[in-house]
Amino acid sequence: MLRDLWGNAEEFLRAFGALQLFFLRLLASIPRVLANRFRLVIYQVYNAGALSLVIILVCGFFVGAVLGLQGYRNLAQFGSEDALGAVVALALIQELGPVVSALLFAGRAGTALASEIGLMRATDQLSAMEMMAVDPIRRVVVPRFLGGVVAMPLLSAIFIMIGIFGAYLVGVGLYGVDLGAFWGQMQDTVVNSDIYESFIKAFVFGVAASLLAVWEGYSAIPTAEGVGRATTRTVVITSIVVLILDFIITAFAVN
């Protein structure tokens, strides 16, 4: 059993090292991609961002609406339902916006990236590029990575806004919370550092989710089973990594 454990640890360390090398290679290619292939990056922002909008809008709305329902019920016990706007906004900005968007992003855009790149590997498209003296890291991987990194904070911001709107409809529209109090308390409570924290989280999650997706796709075993496994791993590993990173960033922000 010890040997198995050691074997697993060794395998994990090897994969982690390979991922780091891959990340460094990717970072080194970014300036040239931005200079020569900017249009590809824009297209990938559209691909990862605009095409994830529906799921972000729908989920954001309902998460906000549920926060409105639950928040009102709990706050009403203390007679402080006027604070609903502040509570909802803080929860969405500090935590739910970046985290839930990142999880949705992993499910929608991450899986698409991993399976697309994995299939390109399986159908020799990446080898064909290499044989045409085109570096697939620059042509395929970096634009998709950057697209995800740019799209994630935008998606998170949209998620937060639509979530607040959902809570507003429930709180003000349904339960009759005072309109002025809803927005006023929100304005008084939310400070710039909350916004920064939210942005940093969304950005870091965007880097992690995009990196893991392109890595899983790029290193997928080039078979139907291998691509399927890479796609599943993308969601599972991204979810775990996002929640761990969330803890770390929050711990720093709180202190």
């Binding site: 390109m120 020799d124 498209q125 080898s127 064909a128 044989m131 003296a133």
Partner: protein
């Protein structure tokens, strides 16, 4: 070990066939020639350059002089036929859009698919996809063109088209061609010289006629498509009777 003491010279300007039974390492040999793989030992010299010593920049410079046709075509599925052929030109040249259009249409015309320029790869048949891939492989006017199993899975008409194109490209453009395949009949139409590889070594070489005349059992088995011989029909297995009578054990 896949190859052991393998040595072969591929002449310039000719069509050279590399044949061998499945699993003998033909595709691996192609990967070695294009440095998708590095050998543990030995030297590979392409167009006067020692592959193992090339930096990535020099390797890419060399690869621009080589066209390769993958087994499945390996067209970029998110680009149209036109854009697939234009891909290497857009990546490596500063040609104006009108010139690129001209070159692409010329190459597509050469493979008979000028009319399919706007189609996407998913809309092509297997034979058409391979012809587009061929047009892409010659887009940069390479000195060497490598065909990996170009006849696999094609109907007789498409196969005839590809056979004719291989020969034409070679003669008209003066390209050195390497064709890896196990289609003995098709290869005998196009190849100037053939190598038969088996067991990690060159088992026989020469013109198709030379190979047919080679007395070796292995060569005869391969050239005449016999099911059993030096390349056994059965994958190594324990004794048949013993295994049948050995009860429920799988192994």
């Amino acid at each position: 070990m896949i190859f052991d003491d393998l040595s072969l010279d591929i002449p310039r300007g000719k069509v050279t066939a590399i044949m061998g039974p499945s699993g003998t390492g033909k595709t691996t040999l192609l990967k070695l020639i294009t440095r998708q793989l590095l050998p543990d030992r030995g030297q590979i010299n392409v167009a006067g350059q020692e592959l193992a010593e090339l930096s990535q920049r020099h390797l890419y410079a060399l690869r621009k002089r080589i066209g390769i046709l993958f087994q499945n075509g390996a067209l970029l599925t998110d680009l149209s036929v036109f854009e697939n052929v234009a891909f290497p030109l857009r990546e490596h040249t500063m040609l104006s859009p009108s010139l690129i259009r001209h070159v692409v249409l010329t190459k597509l015309h050469a493979v008979g698919l000028r009319g399919a320029a706007t189609l996407m790869p998913a809309e092509l048949s297997g034979g058409m996809a391979r012809r587009v891939a061929l047009a892409r492989a010659i887009a940069m006017d390479p000195e060497i063109i490598i065909y990996d199993e170009p006849f696999v899975g094609l109907d007789p008409i498409s196969m005839g088209v590809i056979v004719r194109l291989v020969r034409q490209m070679n003669d008209a453009l003066g390209i050195s061609s390497i064709v890896v395949s196990h289609d003995v009949a098709e290869l005998s139409h196009v190849a100037d010289r053939s190598f038969l590889i088996s067991g990690g070594k060159v088992a026989a070489s020469g013109s198709p006629e030379d190979l047919s005349a080679t007395p070796s059992d292995l060569v005869q088995q391969f050239m005449n498509g016999m099911a059993d011989g030096p390349v056994p029909f059965h994958y190594p297995a324990p004794d048949y009777a013993e295994q049948l009578l050995g009860g429920d054990e799988q192994s």
